[in-house]
Amino acid sequence: LEEPLIFEIGDTETTGVDFEFASKLDLAGVEQPAKPTPASETTSRLGDFARSEAIGLPGLTEPETVRHYTRLSRQNYAIDLGLFPLGSCTMKHNPRLNEKVARMPGFADVHPLQPVDTVRGALEVINELAFWLIELTGMHSVAMSPKAGAHGELCGILCIRAALEARGDAREVVLVPESAHGTNPATAAFAGYKIEDIPANEDGRVDLEALKARLGPDVAGVMITNPSTLGLFERDMKAISDAVHEAGGFVYCDGANFNAIVGKVRPGDLGVDAMHINLHKTFSTPHGGGGPGSGPVVLSEALSAFAPLPYTARTKDGVVHLVEEETADSFAEEHFGGKLHSFGRMTAFHGQMGMFTRALTYILSHGADGLKQVAEDAVLNANYILRSLEDVLHAPFAHSGPCMHEALFGDKGFAEGLSTLDLAKALIDEGYHPMTMYFPLVVHGAMLIEPTETESKAALDQFITALRSVAERAKGGDESMKAAPYYAPRRRLDETQAARKPVLAYQEAVPEASSTGMAAKYGGG
C-alpha cells in the first residue's frame, strides 16, 4: 500500500484536536458548564488584519495521523534497524535514557526568558556540560549557543576574525585542506575570507613543509579536520599549530571526528585555538533525519574574550562560569581583568538546550572511562573493517598506518562501467544503508565507512560479509548492480528531473476554488 500525501487524504474541515468543551470534568455527576467567557463578549483586537482568505491546510483525526506517520516511518532506514556505516557522520546508538531526560518537565517545559532564579537547574545543565567539554578538550572556554556543527565553525572563524581585528590585523586568507568537510570553505567564505588549499603528502596528511612555506602575514589561520576526513590522525598537528601561531594566525580544528580521540588526546594540548563539537556525533544526540544538531565551540585563552554570548569559561580558580549578556562585563572585569570583546550573538536564546540535556546524560553515563572506551572501540571497529576488506577493496591509505574511527576505500579495480554509486545501491539490497560516497574528494570513487563503537563484532562480521559480496560483484562486472536497489521502498529516483523541473510543494491535481483551492497558486516548477 502506498502512503498518500496528507493533502490527498485530509481536508480543511477535519481536525485531530478538540477545543469546545461544554462542561467541566467533575466526578460529582452534575453537569457543570465551564461557562468560558464567550468570544462575543470581547471585541477582536485584530482590526483589519484578520485573515479572510483560506489557508489550504489539510487536517486528519488522530487515528489517521498516527497511521500516516507510522506508515511513512517504515520507509526509512535507521540506526534502530541496522548498522549505518556513514563515514564522517557517526551514526551511533541513541540511548533512550537521553530521550527520557530531555522530556523531564524542568527541561522541556521552561521558557528561555524565565527569571534566572526559576531556571537554576537548566543553567546548571549548561554549566556541567561546558565543564566536561572544556576538560575533555583541554581548552579554556566554550561558546554554547551554536545550533549545529557548521554554525559552530562559523562561530570559531568569527572568533578568529574578531581577535585579529581587535589587534588591527586584517588578514585575508584561510588555508583549508582539500579533504576538508564542505562546510569548512563555505564557512570561511561566509566570514569573508579567501580560501586556499593546503597540499597533502603521500600519506594523505597535511604537508607540513608546504604549509609552513605558505604561512605569512596574510594568513588568518588554518582549518584542519583532525582526525582527518581520510580517517587519519594528523601526526604533525602540534607542529602545524606552532607554525601557524608563529606566523600570527590561529588554528581552527573541525571537531566532527572528536569521537575518535575523546579521552585519548586533548586538542588543547595540540595547540588548537577553536574547535566545534557536534554533540550528535561524539555525544549521541539523535540525528532525527537531518537535525537538530548542536555545535558548541571550545576556545583557547587567546580567543575566549571574543566569544558570542552566552558562553562558559573557566576562571583561574578552576571554577567554570556561565556568562550571559547581563553579567558579561562585570564578570570579565572581575576574572579577566578587562572587558569582553564578544563579537555578538549567533542565535536567539541559549542554544540547543534539548541537546545539552541529552549530551550531558550521555557523558555522565559513560564517564571518563567510558568515553575513552568509546574512542578505543570506535577506532578498533574501523580498523577491523579496514583490515577485513582491504583485500577486496582498494584502500588508498592503508599504508599510512592505522585509521582512526573510519576506513577509507576507493573504486580502483571495479569493472568498467560500475561505480561506487552502484555498489552503494547494491548494498541497500543487502539490508544496509550505504557508506559515505565520493567523499573525501581526494580519493576516486571514495567510500568512507564509520562503524562507530556501538556495533557488535557480530554486526560488523555480517556487514563485512555483505560488503565483500557486493565488492566482488563490482569487480566482476555484475551489470545488475546498475539498477539496484531492487528491494527498497523505491527504485532509483530521478534526481535530474527533480532538479530540472522542481516540484517543491503540493499542487492539487485539478486546481479549483474550493476550500483547499489556493492550490492553483502553489504549483511547483
Binding site: T12, F49, H111, K238, K264, T347, A368, G370, S456
Partner: protein
C-alpha cells in the same frame, strides 16, 4: 558499559585480525607526548542509568516548569499544548535515528514528510515554496537578509530593520553583517499603540536590499505589511516578513498574501515546545518561485523512480556546501528535521479548522487578559491591535516586577528591560503572552498579584 557491545574477548580477537598488539598500537599516530595514558583527572567515571536519571531529575526539579505556575511569557517562544501523539511519532526509531535523507530509496519516510512540511509552511505563509527548515527563527532571519543581498547581486548594501524586530534576531543580523559588507539600520522600538510604519518606510532608499519587519512585532502590534511591501518594491527592495508565532497566522492574513517576498519565522509554537530555547525550528519561504535557486537550506522535491512511482528527493543541492563548498548559498548543513516533523504532525492534527480554532481561542483569552490586566490601577495597555501577546506599561521597573512575581510563583511575562538592557525608556514595559494553555483562573491570579505589587 551498557552502550558498548564489544567484549574483551571480541577486542582481543579483532586486534589479532588487525595485527595490532594492543589498542594503543592503533593510536600510534597521536604523538606520545600528547597521548593521555590514564583517565583525565577530576572527571567522574561511568554511572548506572538509575544514577544518571536521578541526578538529572534533581537538576530538572530546580527549575520552575511552566505547567506549575500561571505562565505569561512569549517574546519569541510560546507555550502551547502539544498533543501526545506528536511526541509518540517523533520517538519512532525510524524517524529519531535516521540520517539526512541522502539515500532516497530508503528514506522516503523523512522525504515525504519534508515535502508535506514544505507545503504546509508555504501555505501558512502565503508563499510558493518553503525549505525543509533551518536552525531557528533568528538564523532564518539572517539567512533571509543574506539572500536578499544575493538577489541584489551585492549592489545594494543597506538593510532596513524595523525597530520592533525581536532584539535577538536584530543582534544576530547585526553580528553576521559585521563580517559581510551590509549596513544594518535599526533601533529599539518606540512605545506607541501602532508600529511606526511611516518611519520605516522613510528609511527605504535605492541602496536598500531589503526591509525586515516582524509580524506581529516584538510588542505584539501588527504592522501594515501591505503598505510596507509596496514601498519596498517601489525602491526595488525585498520585504522580509518575520513571524515568531505561527499560531497567529490562523487569525491574521498571511505575509506572502500581503506582499512579503521572503517570509521567515520561528516554528516552535507548533509541536516543538519551550525547551529553554532550543532546539527550535526556522521556517523559510519565498513568495515567488523565481527566487528558489537563491534560497538557503535543504529542499525536498517530488520526482519518480525507475518504475515511474512517485517519490521524493533532496534537490537543488547545487546550492549547498557539500557540492559548492565556498560558493554555497549558506554554510549550513543541518536542518531541524525532527522539529520539522513535530511541526508537521501537529499541523496535520490541527488542519485549517483546528488552527483557526486554536488561534481564535488564543485571541479570545488574550483579549480577556488585556482587558482585565489593564483594569488594574496603574497599568496601561499599549497596543491598539494584538493577537495573543501585548505590551503593558506598569509604572515601575518591569524587570523587578517580574522577579517579585516569580517569587510568588507567577511567571508574569518578559520585561522589555531584559530584552533591551542598554535602551532607555523601556523599563516599565512588560510583554504578556496568553495562549490556550492559560486559564481564566491564571489571569485572575495574575491580576490580583499585580494589584498587590503595584499598590
Amino acid at each position: 558499559m551498557r552502550y558498548l557491545p564489544l567484549s574483551d574477548g571480541d577486542r582481543t580477537e579483532m586486534l589479532a585480525k588487525i595485527g595490532a598488539k594492543s589498542i594503543d598500537d592503533l593510536f600510534v599516530d597521536v604523538p606520545a607526548e600528547a597521548r593521555l595514558s590514564g583517565l583525565i583527572e577530576g572527571l567522574p567515571t561511568h554511572a548506572s542509568e538509575m544514577a544518571v536519571e536521578k541526578h538529572m531529575r534533581k537538576l530538572s526539579k530546580k527549575n520552575l516548569a511552566a505547567a506549575d505556575a500561571p505562565f505569561f511569557l512569549g517574546a519569541g517562544a510560546y507555550r502551547h499544548h502539544v498533543p501526545a501523539s506528536v511526541d509518540h511519532i517523533i520517538q519512532r526509531g525510524e524517524f529519531l535515528t535516521a540520517y539526512t535523507p541522502y539515500q532516497p530509496e530508503i528514506a522516503q519516510g523523512t522525504l515525504q514528510m519534508l515535502f508535506e512540511f514544505q507545503s504546509q509552511v508555504a501555505r501558512l505563509y502565503g508563499c510558493a515554496v518553503a525549505n525543509a527548515s533551518m536552525y531557528d527563527g533568528s538564523t532564518a532571519c539572517w539567512e533571509a537578509v543574506a539572500m536578499a543581498s544575493r538577489v541584489a547581486r551585492g549592489k545594494k548594501k543597506k538593510v532596513a530593520l524595523s525597530g520592533a524586530l525581536h532584539p535577538h534576531y536584530a543582534e544576530v543580523v547585526r553580528t553576521m553583517a559585521k563580517f559581510t559588507d551590509d549596513e544594518i539600520a535599526g533601533a529599539p522600538p518606540s512605545l506607541t499603540p501602532r508600529p511606526d510604519d511611516d518611519g520605516l518606510i522613510a528609511r527605504i532608499d535605492d541602496n536598500t536590499s531589503c526591509v525586515v519587519v516582524q509580524y506581529p512585532d516584538i510588542l505584539g502590534r501588527l504592522p501594515d505589511l501591505k503598505r510596507i511591501a509596496d514601498a519596498a518594491h517601489e525602491k526595488g527592495a525585498l520585504l522580509i516578513a518575520v513571524n515568531t508565532e505561527p499560531v497567529a497566522l490562523g487569525a491574521i492574513a498571511a505575509p506572502g498574501d500581503l506582499g512579503a517576498d521572503i517570509v521567515v519565522g520561528e516554528g516552535q509554537a507548533i509541536g516543538v515546545g519551550l525547551q529553554f530555547g532550543g532546539p527550535y525550528l526556522g521556517l523559510f519561504a519565498v513568495r515567488d518561485e523565481k527566487h528558489v535557486r537563491m534560497m538557503p537550506g535543504r529542499l525536498c522535491g517530488e520526482t519518480v523512480d525507475a518504475e515511474g512511482k512517485r517519490g521524493f528527493v533532496l534537490t537543488l543541492s547545487t546550492r549547498e556546501q557539500h557540492i559548492r563548498r565556498e560558493k554555497a548559498t549558506s554554510n549550513i548543513c543541518t536542518n531541524s528535521g525532527l522539529c520539522a516533523l513535530a511541526f508537521s504532525v501537529h499541523m496535520t492534527l490541527l488542519g485549517e479548522k483546528g488552527l483557526r480554532s486554536l488561534a481564535a481561542e488564543n485571541h479570545r483569552l488574550a483579549c480577556i487578559a488585556a482587558d482585565r490586566l489593564s483594569a488594574v490601577p496603574g497599568v496601561t495597555l499599549l497596543n491598539e491591535h494584538f493577537f495573543n501577546e501585548f505590551t503593558l506599561q506598569v509604572g515601575r521597573d518591569a524587570r523587578e516586577l517580574v522577579r517579585d512575581l516569580a517569587d510568588k510563583g507567577i511567571l508574569a511575562g518578559v520585561s522589555l528591560g531584559r530584552l533591551y538592557p542598554d535602551s532607555e525608556g523601556l523599563d516599565d514595559a512588560l510583554l504578556v503572552a496568553v495562549t490556550e494553555t492559560t486559564t481564566e483562573e491564571d489571569i485572575e491570579v495574575f491580576c490580583d498579584a499585580l494589584k498587590e505589587a503595584l499598590s
